[in-house]
């Protein structure tokens, strides 16, 4: 397959679980600095697409190229090291560590056994932790055990942990699930800030939220792309209204 200028180029991607095609010949391209939202009804294959990109699930056929590097053959940690970060649907943080430690663990230095044994806590690290904590509104909670954070703050912390790695492609699976209206607004602002120098791929159900953040929307249905384009265009699409948005 030829090289492209896209950050992420998915072509002809298929995964089949015992004959059921969760993702079916999917092609999708994401630009530099683009914030793309993937929507679709339950079981459309949204989370599976993220699983395929980050290596959690292996594809049956097709290709995923990140900056023209084939990801389908790499293991999970190699994909992360290439510059792809992924947030899980339920907040996935280290409950027994403090907020500071959660961020510190995610710092991309000392990632090997030996590296982690000889790792020194530098000024650059604490500066980075404080910068990211401010970004995700957790400065006051740095010394708090992560288990004690509210649900919304846990979601932010996980986003912060990804930002520590400074990924070029950030993938977020339902980042505002379970958040209050105010927290949703703050998250929308956060996402609009952080997509300035990276590409972001978001899965979301909340249409109000999608409108606030999306540059472009992809609608998935039964593992295939139903529609793609700006939010306004997609909202008026007959097929999308039929299967997902409703009349």
């Amino acid at each position: 397959m030829s090289n492209t200028d896209f950050v992420l180029a998915i072509e002809d991607l298929t995964v089949s679980f015992d004959g059921f095609k969760a993702v079916d010949a999917l092609s999708m391209y994401i630009d530099n600095n683009e914030l793309r939202v993937v929507i679709g009804p339950n079981g459309a294959g949204k989370t599976t697409v993220l699983d395929l990109i980050c290596g959690k699930t292996k594809s049956t056929s097709g290709s995923i190229k990140f900056k023209n590097k084939e990801l389908t053959k790499l293991s999970e940690h190699e994909i992360v090291r290439a510059g792809v970060g992924r947030k899980f649907q339920t907040p996935s943080i280290y409950e027994n560590l403090t907020v500071y430690q959660n961020l510190e663990v995610s710092y991309p230095v000392g990632r090997t056994v030996w590296g982690s044994l000889t790792f020194k806590r530098t000024a650059a690290l604490s500066e980075q932790v404080r910068k990211i904590a401010a970004e995700v509104l957790l400065t006051e909670f740095l010394q708090m055990e992560a288990a004690l954070l509210s649900h919304g703050q846990k979601q932010w912390l996980e986003i912060g942990m990804l930002l520590m790695q400074d990924p070029e492609l950030l993938m977020l699976d339902e980042p505002v699930a379970g958040m209050s209206a105010k927290e949703r607004d703050q998250t929308a602002e956060l996402l609009n800030r952080i997509c300035k120098n990276r590409s972001v791929l978001v899965i979301e159900h909340d249409m109000e939220f999608v409108k606030k953040i999306a540059h472009k929307v992809t609608v998935l249905h039964q593992g295939k792309i139903l529609a793609e384009g700006s939010m306004d265009k997609v909202q008026l699409d007959e097929k999308v209204i039929e299967v997902y948005l409703g009349h």
């Binding site: 999970e76 940690h77 090291r81 943080i93 027994n96 560590l97 663990v105 995610s106 090997t112 942990m161």
Partner: protein
């Protein structure tokens, strides 16, 4: 230097705890206990090596190994093989049909020392193998399991099965291993008689020193980024993997370190007690070791050592008077700890220490103590 001492000692509170333990092991117990009791204590201290290896592996890493006995046993066997070869010189074995080989080999119609016994003729090589044999086995098991992402209860069961297999293998290969009796009648190490009173004292202190050394090593690992990653992996393994770490390598490494620490305990056991047998390799000792760590506190290195000593002294006292009740008591103790004190003795201590601010008091006296240490000693105690 300050950073390093902080890392090794775990801050002032950790240093106080370690200093008290060292004081007990090096001064109080040797003065207080007679040689027989001190010998028992020395034996328990060798189990404490396994208990601290479980603090690293199980408490912090969340990897429950029910087969630590095999590493303890292998370390002990390596040491025993050296001592047995030395004890089997042609003069003292001249009544055998083949003089110069270990007695049990002679009983099993062997006429020459098997090839895998050859390296144990040399002490430096033996000391190296005490560390390397168990660690290599741990590496093989760890590589096979963790690269395939076998974990949790499956890993526990597999380690238990391997411990059982190893003990059956040792019992079955009587001519090569001494069978169910183990390797007995060990006498000297490079001509130094290990059965004399003075040797017993020297071995006891060496043992205690090695334990403190292993605890410092474990402390260093736990306070480094590696230690934080262990906790993170225990909480959310997927998140660590998707933060760019190859989780299996970290697990293999800590499993190997735990095996090596256990093996040192095993070798010291052989030296102090004078024999090694398959009864220290199989399932029962492996599970007992887990109970020691659980009672003491699986998150606390110091707690695990006290847990080991207390449970074993309890065992000695109770099993002398009520031998048939001891196993039930041990089982009940384990259930009670898991249900009511998941952090063991260390957890109970921490709770009350926080209540009465014992840690603060200790640190206060400790700082007075360090002021009292002359400045030109470079802060070394």
């Amino acid at each position: 230097m300050n950073v390093l001492s902080e890392k090794l000692l775990g801050g002032k509170q950790g240093a106080v705890g370690l200093a008290i333990l060292a004081l007990l092991l090096f001064v109080v117990f040797p003065l207080w206990l007679d040689l027989f009791r001190l010998g028992l204590l020395g034996k328990y201290v060798t189990y404490a090596f396994v208990a601290i290896s479980l603090v690293l592996l199980w408490g912090n890493g969340g990897i429950l190994s029910l087969g630590q006995g095999m590493f303890f046993g292998l370390g002990g066997y390596c040491m025993a093989m050296f001592l047995k070869l030395e004890a089997s010189d042609p003069v003292s074995t001249k009544i055998q049909s083949t003089p110069g080989i270990p007695d049990f080999m002679d009983w099993n119609q062997l006429t020459a020392i098997p090839f895998f016994w050859q390296p144990f003729k040399s002490l430096p090589l033996t000391l190296l193998l005490v560390l390397l044999v168990p660690t290599t086995l741990a590496f093989i098991i760890g590589f096979a399991m963790f690269k395939r992402r076998v974990g949790g209860v499956y890993f526990a069961i597999i380690t238990q099965a391997i411990a059982l297999i190893l003990s059956i293998l040792i019992v079955g290969q009587q001519g090569y291993t001494g069978g169910v009796n183990g390797i007995t009648d060990l006498k000297t190490m490079l001509g130094w008689d290990i059965r004399t009173d003075s040797a017993k004292y020297i071995l006891y202190f060496t043992n205690a020193g090695l334990l403190i050394g292993c605890m410092l090593l474990a402390r260093y690992i736990l306070t480094s980024k590696f230690g934080m990653l262990l906790l993170a992996m225990r909480d959310k393994e997927e998140r660590v993997r998707f933060s760019g770490y190859d989780v299996s390598n970290f697990k293999i490494f800590i499993f190997c370190v735990a095996a090596m620490i256990s093996a040192i305990g095993g070798a010291m056991f052989t030296l102090q007690i004078g024999f090694m047998s398959p009864s220290f390799v199989g399932i029962v000792p492996s599970i007992e070791m887990v109970i020691f760590a659980a009672v003491g506190g699986r998150m606390s290195l110091i707690g695990a050592v006290y847990g080991t000593l207390l449970v074993n002294f309890g065992k000695t006292m109770f099993s002398e008077t009520y031998p048939e009740l001891w196993l039930f008591l041990m089982g009940g103790l384990f259930i009670a700890v898991v249900m009511f004190f998941p952090d063991g003795l260390a957890g109970v201590y921490q709770k009350y220490a926080d209540k009465f601010n014992l840690g603060g008091l200790a640190a206060k006296y400790f700082s007075k103590f360090t002021q009292w240490v002359p400045k030109n000693s470079g802060g070394k105690l």
